[in-house]
Each structure stands twice: as C-alpha cells, then as structure tokens.
C-alpha cells in the first residue's frame, strides 16, 4: 500500500469535513463517466482516493495569460475547491497563493523538497528559451530554470493549455521570445534521464476545465496517465474531433451551411464550415463535456471552432475565417 506519511487519507479528511460516503461515490461515478471509463472504474477511483494521502500539486506559470487558471476555477464536477481542499494539496499557485515574495518561494521550494519524487507539476504558459530566459522571471529566476528545476522531482508533469503543451501564442510566428512548450524546455533533461516523469499535454486555449481536473483524478486513481496519443494528449478527451459530436453535423451531412453569422442558416443552426470552423481537424472535448456546466460551446453559440487545442493553430493559413475546405 501507499506510504502514509503523517497526513490523513482523503477519506479521513472528507469524513472530518462532513462529506458523506455517498456524495463521494457519486462524485467518483461522474468522474469515471467523463473519463469514458466503464462504471466499474468508479470503484477504483473511490478506493484509490479514499486510501491515499493528499498528493502535492505545484503549479508554475511562465508566459501565461492566466486563462488556464481561470478555466480550472470554472470546473464544476469536480470543483477546484473540492480538489484543492479535499483531494490534493495545491502547494503553489501564484494566482491563489496567500503568501508573496520570499514566503511564497519558500512554500514552493519546501513542497518540492518534502514531496520530491511524488508531486504533480502543472505548468501553464509558454516557456521562453532564448537569452538566458530573461523574457520571463519570477523572484529573479527565469521561468525556464524554474520549470527545469521543478521537473526533476515530479511524479507527473501536466502541461495545461496549448502554450505549455506546444508553445501556443508566444510561439506564434515570428516567436519573438523563442518560446516553446514543456517538452521543448525539458528536452535535454529527458534525454539525460534527469526527468523521468510522464508528461501529459492538455491543450486548449484554455482547456476545458473538467478535462484538466479529470486528468488529475485519473492519475490519482491509477498512478499513471491515461493513454496518450502521439501529441501527448489523453485519448479519453482528445480521441475525437469536435466535429464528430457537433449538433450541427447533420446539417454538414446535408450540405446546409450558414453563409453569414446571422443569416437564416445561422439562426437555424446550420454548419459553420463556410465561416471558418476548424472543428473537423480539432481534437478536443468541447462538444462532449461542453463548457460552463454544459451551458454551451463555441459552435452552439455561433462561432466556428478556432482549432485552439491543435499545435500551431495561431499560424494556420487562411486565419480563423478561412474555409478548411
């Protein structure tokens, strides 16, 4: 069984906080369903989460816009607060951290030291690799070096957002700061076996919140990442295009296309291909998990998919309103 440390397990913790076992099991079942796992998996999730101490999560931001952090704050099932109070210990996140300056850096460094080899490292933002990394510093240290330092002790690295996954907007042409994604920043360390942790890319600008939290829960349950595709993305969420599950797909199949954002076709929900939708080539969960408590998603609200979970989507020929085909 897992090393217990001195910390109570999740179930101890939840009981202390008055969370019923039934609520907990319902939560596990939902999480299993959005991860496209069989119903029996909710048992495994419950078992794993109930018997492990809360693992440390360290979140580093480099060339970020904070959209990824804002997005995870929108996660409703599970909520970020339930995760950070009940499921893991969010030991460093500069948007939410109470302490500042040296006190914050000490909290971060202590979490790395005390949980070496066991923590989950989350990174958002591109990472400027040129010029000693002076395009992004925190506490006088370059973001590049902070990421490299923290990666060595991580059990899992999650690159959230298209920037951390593939460079994203700072790496858009002409990539003024020499930005890259987490893989680019760690390439040498990986080659030298100084970083052994698996790296999961969770792209999207920003990613769907429940995709981020779902990946973390999967790892807490199984101690390994979900199956990844050749771009490092978890297949349960990135195995299909948003086009495959789009409610406008029947119109696509009938050849019915909106020609303007408010013409009759647009008002009837016709396919947005002619207005530049990149759905057919974009792998993400927007049309299945949907956004903001399933309120909507981009195509349902009338705009084509920007393709924001794909590498180099900012530089696609034809721009956001050019037709794919």
């Amino acid at each position: 069984m897992e090393e217990r440390d001195n910390h109570p397990t999740l179930l101890d913790h939840l009981r202390r906080q008055g969370v019923s076992r039934r609520d907990f099991l319902n939560w596990c079942a939902y999480t299993a369903s959005i991860l496209a796992l069989p119903p029996s998996a909710s048992q495994a999730i419950a078992q794993a989460l109930a018997t492990k101490p809360r693992p440390s999560v360290i979140w580093l931001s480099v060339q970020e816009c904070t959209g990824c952090s804002e997005s995870i704050l929108r996660s409703f099932e599970p909520t970020l607060e339930s995760l950070m109070f009940d499921q893991f210990s969010l030991d460093y996140h500069h948007v939410l951290q109470a302490a500042a300056g040296t006190a914050a850096e000490q909290a971060r460094d202590r979490a790395i030291e005390q949980n070496f080899g066991k923590y989950v490292l989350v990174i958002d933002g591109g990472i400027p690799l040129d010029r000693d990394g002076y395009y992004s510093t925190t506490g006088g240290k370059s973001g590049r070096d902070l990421v490299r330092g923290a990666a060595k002790g991580a059990a899992l690295i999650i690159a959230v957002g298209t920037c951390a996954a593939y460079g994203g907007i700072p790496a858009a042409s002409p990539n003024p700061t020499g930005a890259g994604g987490v893989h680019d920043a760690l390439r040498e360390l990986i080659d030298n076996k100084d970083v052994a942790a698996p790296i999961i890319n969770v792209p999207g600008c920003p990613p769907v919140p429940e995709v981020m939290t779902g990946v973390v829960v999967y790892f807490l349950t199984y101690g390994k990442p979900p199956d990844l595709d050749n771009l490092g993305r978890p297949i349960p969420f990135f195995g299909r295009t948003v086009h495959d599950d789009c409610p406008r797909l029947p119109f696509f199949n009938q050849g019915l296309f909106a020609k303007s954002f408010d013409d009759e076709g647009a008002q009837k929900g016709y396919c947005l291909k002619d207005l530049g939708c990149k759905g057919p080539t974009t792998f993400n969960a927007c049309t299945t998990v949907k956004w903001n408590q399933k309120t909507s998603f981009p195509m349902f609200s009338g705009h084509g998919c920007l393709g924001c979970a794909q590498p180099k989507f900012w530089d696609r020929e034809g721009g956001f309103y050019g037709k794919l085909f």
Partner: protein, 597 residues
C-alpha cells in the same frame, strides 16, 4: 501556520542582508502573488521602515503585438484576447472596436446590447473575484477565523444583510472545514501567509464570515459566467466577431445557444449577480472597511485619474455620444473639472521608455503617441538569476504612458471619481452613503481603502445597469429585429487600401485602447496601451513615478520582513501584468515604425 517564516517576504539583498533593522534597506517582493502575471516590487526603506522609493517591474513579455503584424485584422481579437485570461472580454472588444473604427463599420443594435451585457458581466465577475480571491487575504486572517464563535458570526451576518447562508450551523461547518484543513498539516495555498501580522485587525467572526464568502464566491463565479458561455460559447475566452456578435438568435427552440431558455437564464444570472453584490459583496466591503479606516489616508498615488468611458447605448456615430460611464480626466484631485480626452491628438497620450527595457530612435527621453509608436528591445537588466535590479536605469518590460505628460491612475476609482464629478446621481448616492456609514470624508476616496470601496461601488452601479441592458435586448428582439451581425464590410476586399483606427474601452482595471493601422487588408502596426501599463509603469524621463510607485512611497512597514502593507496597496489596484507588457523585438534590431497615413 503563523510566523512560520521569519524572513517571509523579504529577499535579503547583498546590502540588506547584514543590515540591522534600523538601517535603510531594500525590500523585494517577487512574485507579487494573487495577481495576474509577473510583478516585482523593490522598495527602499529608511531607518524607520518608511518606504522612500518604490520601483515597479513587469518581468514577463511575449510580444503579441509583434506577432500581430501582417495578420488579418479580423483575427486580431482572438490574439489580443490572450493578452489576458482574467480580462477575457476586454481586449477582444477593444480590438474589434479599433477595426470597426478604422473601417467605419456600424454594428446592429442587438450586438451592442449583447456586448454591453458581456462587458458588464465581466466587471461583476472580475471585481467580486478580485475582492475575495485576490485581495481579501491581505485583510482577512485565515487562522483567526478558527477562533470565531459561529453563533456570533451568524448574528453578524443577519445584521448585515438578508443573505440566506446565515445560520450558526452553516458558519460552524465552514469553520470545521477550515479546521480539518489546517489540522491535516497540508496548508496548500495558505502556507506561509503573514497570519498573525499586527496589521490584521478583524475580529475572528468577521474573518470567518469572509472565509465563508471566499468559498461561496468560488461557486458563484462559476455560475455567473454562463452569460459569456451563452453569447460567446465559453468562458474564459468567449468568441467575438468584427461587425457584430457571432451568436445568431435561434430560429427554433434550440438551434443555437441564444434561445428562449437561455435568454431567460441570462435574466436569472443577472438576478444572481445582483443578489450577491447587494447581500454579500457590498455589506462585506463596508463591514471590513470599518476596521481599516486608517487605510483611508494611505496609498493614494499620483492624484490624477483617467477614464475612456463605457457602455454605449447607441451604434455607429452615436456610439461615443451615448456612453453611460463618461470619459474624462481629473487632475490633482480637482473634482470641479473633468477634462476631455482625445485619443488621436499626438500630444495627449504618449508612452515613455526612460526606465523600460526598450529604446527609441530619438533617444530614451522622448514620448511617442501610439500611432507613432516604436519598439526596440533593449534589455539591460541583470542576467537571471539575480537578486536586485538597478532601478536608476531601466527596470521593467512595462512602458510609462502619460496623459499630457502626467502620470494618471486608471480603474474603478478613476471611473467613480469621474462619475461623481459629473454629478451622476446614483454614484453620488452610493458614495455619500458608503462614506457616511464609515464616517469618512470624500477625500478618503484618494487612498488604498478608497480604491477598494470604489471597486465595490462601481460593481453595484454596473450590476444595477444590467437589467436595463437585458430589457433593451429583449425589447429589440420583441420588435422583430433579429440582426446580430452585418456582413457588409466583412470581406477585406471591400476595405480602403490604407486606414487606421483606435478602439477605446473601459476594462475592469481601467482605461484601455488599441491603436492599429491596416494596409492592404493586413495589420501594419498594432499598439495597445492597457490599464496596468498606466498603473504599473516605471518612472518616466522626468523621474515622475507611476501610480503603484507613488502609492507605495511613504508606507511604513511594521515588519519589513513581512511587508503586508505593500501587498494591500498594490492589490488595491488589481494588477494585471500580462496585459501590461508590450511588443518585443527579438533581435533588438528591427525598428517597428508606424507609417503615418
């Protein structure tokens, strides 16, 4: 938890490391947490611990404006939106307005109402989250809440407002949750805070109340962004379009997100926003402010204020004449006169780089209007890792914008002062009522506390305007006007060969404008001068401080190793650093020059 770090907050520099407490020293706060982005403050204190000079440094750049060069202007909103995922609406709107201004593009009336609703929703969402999740922990001691009496907390809540979560059992459960968390020994984001600092003045019950609302606001914010999801498809980063809005009104019950059910939901979300503002945010602000009246004379800053105006009810030529929040400038606290602001006069708005890591072809002493903007990277700071910046030289990636040579503060305080000075009745009522409740004079607004109060007051003003915006949209739809977009100028082949434009708006953090030139259907140059550039910029060529720097000067730090006072004043501005930083030229050679048409 308390006092767990003796040296917390202080970065001992070579000069300060061995200095006794009574010696001048330099305090470095980096990272300034609970903000968007990467901000560093270096504060020099005298023997009494009083800040004699503060220097504000933005330490991250991406160069998005440079990335925009040569692209389709219709795509620019999506790029500029990624300036910031907190201000997720504002840079899209500014960009789209700049393109529409350049083209003389008139949008349908419904589009204006929908944009107004999205902007207003951004304000209410953003200000509430700033108060509870980014600013509260400067005033609220989490550890002290463990000592609160839940029954007394309940009485307090009942006395403040009719908010339903008010029972002793409710506050007992919140306290129990907090206790379990602290006892687990894994303090997460609360680890190493300045808990127990003598500047924390709230009774335990007020601390517990605020922590309960910190948690409630986390749940509330998830719900109220549904307005952005309905009209923009998602939040963060909802979608927009030049020429209107992209969300067609549904012809059937569920062909698009803008259907009858969701329009009703918009109305419900507005009610939910207003209820939280009226029953939680506003009463909490006044209750907490009552214990911190000494902060009504600290942290003023430069005393000049600028707003561009927001919430147009008309379209086209009427757009700038129908702003519900007026534009203008207040100089040297003089509320008797609101000066007009001109966006295209080259002598009014200028950016300086005297202390920024850029250079201009005419030298570092001149200021340039954004239409004439130049950008040349000139990093002269220390090689990382470093302990200290040379603040007599260049020390920030942020430029120093000035209005007629003056540093000006932008944001909620600027807007409220301009509304107040303009005699706007509701603003006068709310300001006078709030100050009356606290027993403070109008001059109390010129302070750290005034900035916090102004943000709350403006949130109430805007939340109360939202039903009017909603009714205007619904009435227009009821009249049979379903237009949300005009395609007349969407095709770039219909555009003039060369044009230029400016898009103005008021973002939650203050005055925001994007200037662009369009040449042969492509972006020639793009310059954004954003709220946190105005507020967080470094000293200018004349040595005049930016608003953050001026506001910090004179602060006395009770415990320089735990500089809570610095956080209070900096957070009162609601810094947003990713927005604030400008174009970067990677090779330090290319000169980006606007060709004036």
């Amino acid at each position: 938890m308390a006092n767990s770090s003796k040296k917390a907050g202080e970065k001992p520099t070579a000069a300060a490391k061995n200095a006794p407490a009574s010696q001048p020293r330099r305090i470095v706060v980096d990272p300034v947490t609970r903000i968007e982005g990467h901000l560093r403050i270096e504060a020099e204190t005298d023997a009494q611990g009083v800040i004699t000079r503060a220097s504000s440094s933005g330490t991250m750049v991406r160069g998005i404006e440079l990335i925009l060069k040569g692209r389709d202007p219709r795509d620019a909103w999506a790029f500029t939106q990624r300036f910031c995922g907190v201000c997720t609406v504002v840079h899209s709107i500014a960009s789209i307005r700049a393109v529409e201004y350049a083209l003389g593009y008139v949008i349908p009336e419904n589009a204006q109402h929908i944009r107004n609703l999205m902007i207003a929703a951004q304000y209410v969402h953003d200000h509430v989250m700033h108060f509870y999740h980014l600013h509260a922990l400067d005033w609220v001691d989490v550890v002290s809440a463990l000592k609160a009496d839940p029954a007394a907390t309940s009485k307090l809540q009942v006395s403040l407002s009719p908010w339903p979560n008010n029972s002793p059992a409710y506050f007992g459960a919140v306290q129990q949750r907090l206790k379990g968390f602290v006892e687990s020994g894994q303090l997460g984001i609360f680890a190493n805070g300045y808990w127990g600092h003598p500047e924390y003045k709230l009774p335990p019950e007020v601390n517990l109340l605020a922590i309960a609302h910190y948690l409630e606001a986390l749940a509330w914010q998830r719900d109220v962004v549904k307005i952005h999801a309905i009209f923009g498809g998602k939040n963060p980063h909802p979608n927009f379009v030049v020429g209107g809005v992209p969300c067609a009104i549904s012809a059937t019950s569920h062909a698009t997100a803008v259907n009858g059910d969701n329009l009703r939901l918009v109305g419900e979300v507005i009610d939910k926003m207003r209820q939280f503002v009226d029953q939680v945010y506003l009463p909490d602000t006044l209750a907490i402010a009552g214990f911190y009246k000494d902060w009504a004379t600290r942290g003023e800053g430069v005393g000049n204020f600028l707003s561009y105006g927001e919430f147009p009810t008309g379209v086209g030529a009427a757009e700038r004449n129908t702003l519900q929040f007026p534009p203008g400038v207040i100089i040297n606290r003089d509320l008797a006169k609101v000066h007009p602001v001109n966006f295209e006069d080259p002598t009014e708005i200028q950016e300086f780089v005297a202390h920024s890591w850029y250079s201009y072809s005419a030298g570092k002493q001149v200021g340039l209007h954004p239409y004439d903007g130049e950008t040349k990277l000139d990093y002269t700071g220390p090689k990382p890792p470093y302990e200290q910046l040379d603040v007599d030289q260049s020390y920030s990636w942020i430029k120093s914008p000035r209005w007629k040579g003056l540093p000006v503060e932008v944001g909620p305080l600027a807007r409220v002062l301009i509304l107040y000075a303009s005699g706007e009745v509701r603003t006068r009522g709310l300001v006078d009522h709030s100050l009356g409740r606290l027993g403070l004079p109008i001059s109390a607004l010129f302070s750290t506390l005034g900035r916090v109060a102004a943000r709350t007051i403006e949130t109430k003003l805007i939340a109360d305007m939202m039903p009017g915006m909603y009714d205007a949209l619904m009435a227009n739809i009821a009249r049979g006007d379903l237009r949300t977009f005009d395609d007349v100028l969407f095709d770039p082949t219909t555009w003039p060969k060369k044009t230029r434009g400016v898009g103005m708006m008021e973002a939650p953090r203050g005055a925001l404008a994007h200037w662009l030139t369009i040449e042969e259907g492509r972006i020639g140059n793009y310059q954004a001068v954003v709220p946190s550039t105005w507020n967080a910029g470094p000293r200018d060529a004349a040595g005049r401080e930016g608003p953050y720097e001026a506001a910090l000067r004179g602060h006395k730090l009770q415990d320089p190793s735990r500089p809570l006072e610095i956080l209070r004043t900096i957070h009162s501005f609601d810094p947003c650093l990713a927005c604030a930083v400008h174009v970067v030229d990677p090779k330090g050679e290319e000169l980006v020059r606007v060709r004036v048409l």
